[in-house]
């Protein structure tokens, strides 16, 4: 099993908020296999090693990462390593995934696209999408 080595450095802003810098990973579909999940996570891992951190965005079908058995395990590993995970509340509920199904460390966003644009354009220096 892949041992995650993700690290995320969050700088504190003047307001005391955590600010992400590094790589944004946008997941819009499930991995087709465990190999692919490993590859997707591997990209996160390599990106975070080169930069200062990673945030994962679950959008559309990508919200199934939060529920599916195998993807959820990989997502947990990313969370354990300190990557921030943000999911679209609208897309989760549209797919019948309730809040109680989720890892509590996942942040639910009412406007994930807006959050993503802010992070991609303002804070991150790299974006990977699947």
């Amino acid at each position: 099993m892949l041992q995650p080595k993700l690290r995320t450095i969050h700088r504190k802003t003047a307001k005391g908020e955590r600010e992400m810098s590094g790589t944004c990973v946008l997941l819009m579909r499930l991995p087709a296999s465990e190999d692919e999940a490993r590859r997707m996570l591997g990209i996160i891992q390599r990106s975070t090693e080169r930069n200062s951190g990673a945030a994962i965005y679950l959008l559309g079908e990508g919200t199934f990462w939060a529920k599916g058995l195998m993807p959820k395990r990989y997502l947990s590993m990313a969370l354990d390593s300190g990557a921030a995970v943000k999911a679209s509340r609208r897309d989760l509920f549209a797919r019948g995934i309730s809040e109680c199904d989720l890892d509590q460390r996942i942040s639910l966003m009412d406007d994930l696209e807006g959050e993503l644009v802010e992070d991609v354009m303002g804070r991150a220096n790299r974006v990977v999408s699947w």
């Binding site: 959008l59 696209e113 807006g114 993503l116 991609v120 354009m121 999408s129």
Partner: protein, 136 residues
């Protein structure tokens, strides 16, 4: 306003998938909408089957009309480019004169600019961030 958006930054969105079979085109439109709302310059490139997305005459029954959404985004300042070669291959362009770079495409809406791969390269060069959606 355009100059201000350029100063703030340019987001390039590249779509590879046809609309309606999946949500990639919707994601592109939603992200472009938010980026324009925040004052960023947005450029969208449609490649491969994604060239079908710019058709405004499609009548999806239960989905957002992607062609009309792209038209509204273009009205707000987004640039919408379509791959010329992909459009020729899919029957959107008639009477293409390669020497004079002149083409006739009665079904292409006016907000779409056809470009070659060179146009794609130019877009990438200008962009501060690039996001890719779907697969061909």
């Amino acid at each position: 306003m355009v100059a201000e958006a350029r100063k703030k930054g340019t987001l390039a969105l590249v779509l590879f998938s046809a609309p309606y079979g999946n949500q990639y085109a919707n994601h592109v439109c939603n992200i472009a909408d938010r980026a324009l709302g925040m004052g960023y310059n947005v450029e969208i490139f449609l490649y491969g089957d994604a060239v079908h997305a710019h058709l405004t005459e499609q009548k999806p029954k239960n989905f957002v009309n992607i062609g009309e959404t792209l038209a509204r985004l273009a009205d707000r300042g987004a640039a919408v480019y379509s791959c010329l070669i992909c459009a020729i291959a899919r029957g959107y362009i008639r009477d293409y004169d390669e020497g004079r770079k002149v083409y006739n495409s009665p079904i292409t809406p006016p907000f779409v600019k056809y470009v070659t791969v060179q146009g794609f390269v130019n877009m990438i060069k200008k962009a501060d961030r690039i996001m890719m959606f779907g697969s061909s």
